[in-house]
Symmetry: none
């Protein structure tokens, strides 16, 4: 938790607006994101609240948070419709009215024109701002954000509820403004060392010695489901360079202990790790998928620059397609031999150096007498096909996701051994 500076306990709370959040129809991921971002920026955040789309209740909650915080970030209720009333609630708390901003009106109109869409008149409500407030210009959606100073010491920010839009504005505009207001702070920086292939208890035993000695950076585990288990390092220092050096040193130690269990840090995905290995070894990749339906290819194509090493994928969902396009021998298609033939077929058909094959049973029913969760994965590289048989837990979606990641990890380890 961010420690408080002795001289300046500047703090920022978060208010998420939306009846759908209270009713549990949407999980409030924005507040979590903002909390994490504030912690990284060294800004204390002690309270978060959620309230429905009701003018009086939004205003009351905002007053409440302002009574204990220097800044409040309000998330949601900035859209064009009648139930988007965050602007009105902020104006009420500020004791001012709303003014229509002509430049913003033009900007919103131009966004619709550029996208070739008719603009409903109510979109112009988004050009309203409380008197004295300024806009955070919108880059993704049509709603701008707001910066609303209260006197010289306090401020209310408003950002849209759509997560991508909220995050973009927080990153671009809100965090920097908060840091300026909070004054010099000690820097708190975290780094996630990302692992795949061992449960939390095993990781914990492997690095028990490091955990026992932890002071700065601190070390914590974060089970992240499909993203593997993350080991979070958090360092505190007077400046960023010192904090980063502390993290670098600890990361190097952990990598030495954990070896290939570590596939990256922070936002580095498993697919990026594989892409880097393929690119550095000058290899082209082709994939043949069945139960994953295109998920393996889709995840690989998420990596920017993937066209350098990703040729494509044959999604042979139907058995006949496997036989015809990939030369899989007729017979059970949930089998080691089918996976192997798929990998080799992908390599040949897609003119690649490495071929991946994956087939299995995602459910809801069994197939080829194999129970749900049975998956065969294959890597064809340097004239050698390696096949693995997996028994994965969970329902249809989880099996497909785990299968895709396991296959990419299998390739990663082959490429590491080869390097």
């Amino acid at each position: 938790m961010p420690s408080e500076g002795a001289t300046h306990p500047f703090s920022c709370s978060v208010l998420a607006v939306g009846t759908e959040l209270l009713l549990g129809q949407v999980v409030d991921t924005n507040s979590s994101f903002i909390g994490e971002r504030l912690a990284l920026a060294g800004i204390d955040s002690h309270l978060q609240a959620r309230v429905g789309d009701n003018l009086d209740r939004i205003a009351a909650a905002l007053r409440l948070l302002l009574s204990t915080s220097d800044a409040v970030i309000v998330c949601g209720g900035l859209g064009p419709t009648q139930d988007d009333i965050t602007r009105e609630a902020i104006a009420e708390v500020l004791g001012t009215g709303l003014v229509r901003d002509l430049a913003m009106e033009e900007r919103i109109g131009a966004m619709f024109t550029r996208r070739g869409r008719q603009m409903a008149a109510n979109n112009l409500r988004q050009a309203d701002r409380p008197e004295g407030a300024s806009f955070i210009v919108q880059e993704l959606g049509t709603a701008p954000g707001l910066v609303c100073p209260i006197g010289v010491d306090q401020v209310v920010y408003a950002v849209p509820g759509v997560p991508a839009e909220a995050r973009e504005m927080i990153e671009r505009a809100v965090v920097a403004d908060l840091q300026r207001r909070a004054g010099p702070r000690s820097v708190i920086v975290s780094r996630m060392v990302r692992t795949w292939g061992a449960p939390e208890s095993t990781l914990s035993e492997l690095i028990a010695d490091r955990v026992d000695r932890q002071t700065n950076p601190t070390i914590a585990f974060l089970a992240s489901g499909l993203e593997g288990i993350k080991v979070r390092l958090t360092a505190k220092a007077g400046d960023m360079a010192t904090a980063t050096a502390l993290l670098d040193a600890e990361e190097a130690l952990l990598r030495e202990i954990l070896g290939p269990l570590v596939f990256g840090v922070d936002d580095e995905s498993m697919e990026k790790a594989v892409g880097d290995l393929l690119a550095s070894q000058g290899l082209l990749l082709g994939v043949a998928e069945s139960l994953t339906g295109g998920l393996v290819g889709s995840r690989l194509a998420e990596v920017p620059g993937s066209s350098e090493w990703f040729q494509g994928s044959i999604v042979a969902y139907d058995s006949q397609v496997k036989f015809d396009l990939l030369d899989v021998p007729e017979g059970p298609v949930v089998s080691a031999s089918a996976a192997s033939a798929m990998a080799t077929g992908a390599r040949r058909v897609l003119r690649a150096d490495v071929g991946l094959g994956i087939t299995g049973v995602a459910g809801p029913t069994t197939q080829d007498d194999q129970p749900v969760g049975t998956v065969f994965t294959a890597v064809d590289l340097d004239g050698e096909v390696e096949v693995r048989e997996l028994h994965l837990p969970g329902g249809r979606q989880l099996v497909r996701q785990l299968a895709a990641i396991s296959l990419v990890d299998q390739l990663r380890r082959r490429l590491l051994d080869r390097a």
Copy 2:
């Protein structure tokens, strides 16, 4: 949003305790669950808050919520360790002390014995309760919950933060006690009518008449990014059958007004809608993808039973693969003619009745002189290829996702016209 009964505006708020929630290391799913459960039980819930593991701040937040609510459910901070201080905070707000409960001490000790585990002494802290409070006996974990009456009119419940334990206690003990306290209540049920293809402002104008007349069900919009825009209907009635009938009637009216903009309700995805149309028309589908890298196929394969109508997908990420496998004419591959050839190629190669083709620029850089966001989609059906040119906003991931959904929607509309 649940409307308030005129005679008895009983309301319950939620306080989630845990520094990990504020720091965004754990997403607070308990509050969402509780909010949904309260809505179903007809209990109004207007405010939710989150606070870290700090005695003064928990107590302050609890006082705050009690100033506006009849009941508060506190979630988290009931475990055995030193940072579990919800019991102490409640006692402070109640102005009482904690008492150690001997029967509960025995129960906790017996749980450890039964599981063959040594009990650390601090586990007995879980046998403490504020004076005047009673326990909610624990069925799953080692921490009991608490029911803490304040005078005759108010109450604080405490449940553990572990989601499974929290849910079990809420379902078993808390909801029923709340309903007893709130007196006879009505049922509140929601339904999401899901749309794609028109912005929120247009939808809002189309159904302005229904929104103006809304009383029961109420109507609200929910922009859900990649899941389209949802229109939420919320009905209140004396029993479930009456509430459902109200929702059915409003849904029918909205479908009549919005036509093909509506693709489903609640959990029904766009891909499920397309799969149902394909199955009912006896058509097999084949896909050829470029920028989406397998995403279209992967989304289609998410639908249980998709093997009945989904043949597969050729992910031709590399241009040469497009030329070789799909007979795309050599030349610019980000073009209407390439998309059209891909759709036809997919239909032929995958032995399908319908072919989809999609090519475009996801970024980060331009391709074939086309800017990022330019996408061509094609549907080959009944001997007619329909090509669309899109200009999508956002970065690499958003462009890919929007492109995939737009293509599936294009197919949906073709199939609807055909039916």
